[in-house]
């Protein structure tokens, strides 16, 4: 049994909040540059140039890439041979978010209550997901999630008879409805299967996977490639000003599901798709 003090988790999360918000992951940078080389939209090329210039400024000056520094989505994979000591884990996570958002000059974008509103002032609470896995390590993934794109996400409970075509049509429908709103080029996270809640979580997890990676199952890897091509044939383009680059990637994650159902969630992210992982 390995002991890990939760203070260490606080420290790592504070650092990840700042790093994730100021330095775009290399996979996203690479795909944006690749898309710029293939773009043929009139305004689109200039927009992609500015998007590249923007993340380079953020890198050089250590400033947030985007002013929506998001809700802090925190995924903890906790080894079952780890004993967490030194305090309450959820409080330690929130403390990391609090410190990171304050010392990193990040925007505090969280309200206390969904209807009565009121900013919490420190960007807490984090959206925390914990999973118990084999081993004696703690893997921390932080994904600040902006809401311009989050608001364009959707979930649908399909009948199994809708089949693959139903899923394909739904993904395209969500992207079409999102249009210029989620700051395209977007990244499309898709969760298929599980239950209502698990499908949504899968879609969010799909966004934490590098955008240049493919599902390990060739069936779904092919579906990812096919959907990316179909989305990029819609012509929405960067910022909605017409062009090839509507999406940078489509990541699909799946789970077994019930005989009666086929849940599908589509979580939209913007070109500032942030994720950063560290293992303790």
């Amino acid at each position: 049994m390995r002991e890990i003090n939760v203070a260490q988790i606080t420290e790592v999360i504070a650092r990840l909040c700042i790093e994730a918000n100021t330095h775009l992951p290399e996979d996203v940078k690479g795909v944006i540059k690749k898309c710029r080389a293939c773009e043929d939209g009139e305004i689109a090329c200039g927009i992609l140039d500015r998007i590249i210039e923007n993340f380079e400024i953020a890198d050089a000056e250590n400033v947030p890439i985007c002013q929506d520094t998001g809700m802090a989505c925190v995924f903890l994979e906790i080894g079952q041979d780890v004993h967490l000591v030194g305090g309450n884990l959820a409080e330690a996570v929130d403390e990391g978010v609090r410190r990171g958002y304050e010392s990193g000059y990040l925007r505090k974008s969280v309200v206390k209550d969904p209807i009565r509103r009121g900013n919490t002032g420190d960007n807490t609470p984090a959206m925390l997901y914990t999973e118990i896995v084999p081993g004696e390590q703690v893997k921390i993934t932080l994904g600040p999630k902006g809401f311009g794109s989050e608001n364009m996400s959707a979930i649908r409970m399909f009948k199994p008879s809708a089949g693959l075509q139903g899923i394909k049509d739904f993904i395209l429908e969500v992207v079409e409805t999102a249009g210029p709103n989620p700051c395209p080029p977007m990244v499309v996270g898709v969760g298929i299967g599980g239950t209502f809640d698990k499908a949504a979580l899968l879609a969010k997890k799909a966004l934490m996977r590098p955008v240049d990676s493919s599902n390990a199952d060739p069936y779904y890897a092919d579906l990812e490639a096919e959907m990316l091509e179909k989305i990029n044939a819609l012509g929405i383009g960067p910022q909605g000003f017409g062009g090839r680059t509507t999406a940078l990637g489509v990541n699909i994650e799946t789970l077994p599901t019930h005989i009666a159902g086929m849940p599908c969630a589509v979580n939209i992210n913007c070109h500032v798709t942030r994720h950063k992982t560290e293992v303790i």
Binding site: P64, C66, G179
Partner: protein, 185 residues
């Protein structure tokens, strides 16, 4: 067409701007987003004055990150304009003419723009670090308790924008996308 304009956005000036124009804007603009708009519209409904003179004003839909020491403002890209659709016709009716944001607008906003000669400009969503470079001063003027959503008065120089919807109701999103799909045929 490429234009360099100086605010305020008078009716005469607004009428010379067309969907698709690249416009470099210099002058004073005001920041407001969801909570600020709600409060301003409540103030108007109660017969109160707004924290700034809306006549020919341009409102930037933004909630910036806090300024680091030595910075005028933090990252400051546009937020999704559609969330302000519930308030935009009211703001246009009291004289505010320019709106800066990103994303689609409802038909009722476009109708109000046609009626009051409003212009909807787009800034590049997600390019907050870059856009901050053209903001030369920032002053908090009201609703400090709203944090990032407080009202700020900004002075911008050569802020690069695109006219998305002009005061005749022409829409760049629709036109450019159709033109691109035609080009690819």
């Amino acid at each position: 067409m490429e234009r360099h304009i100086t605010l305020p956005l008078t009716e005469e000036l607004a009428k010379t701007l067309h969907a698709g124009d690249t416009v470099y804007v210099t002058g004073t603009i005001y920041t407001s987003r969801d909570a600020g708009h709600k409060r301003m519209c409540e103030a108007l409904a109660a017969g109160e004055k707004l924290p700034f003179d809306p006549t020919d004003a341009t409102i930037y839909y933004v909630g910036p990150t806090p300024a680091k020491p030595g910075q005028v403002i933090g990252s400051a890209g546009p937020t999704t304009s559609g969330r302000m659709d519930a308030y935009a016709p009211t703001m246009l009716s009291v004289g505010a003419r320019g709106m800066i944001g990103k994303g689609a607008r409802l038909p009722e906003v476009v109708e109000a723009m046609k009626k009051h000669s409003g212009v909807y400009f787009g800034a590049i969503g997600g390019a907050g670090a870059l856009i901050a470079k053209c903001i030369k001063s920032a002053e908090l003027i009201a609703y400090e308790d709203l944090g990032a959503e407080a009202l700020r008065k900004l002075y911008v120089e050569e802020m690069p924008l695109v006219v998305i919807i002009d005061c005749e109701g022409r829409n760049l999103y629709e036109e450019r996308r159709a033109a691109y799909l035609e080009q690819r045929k």
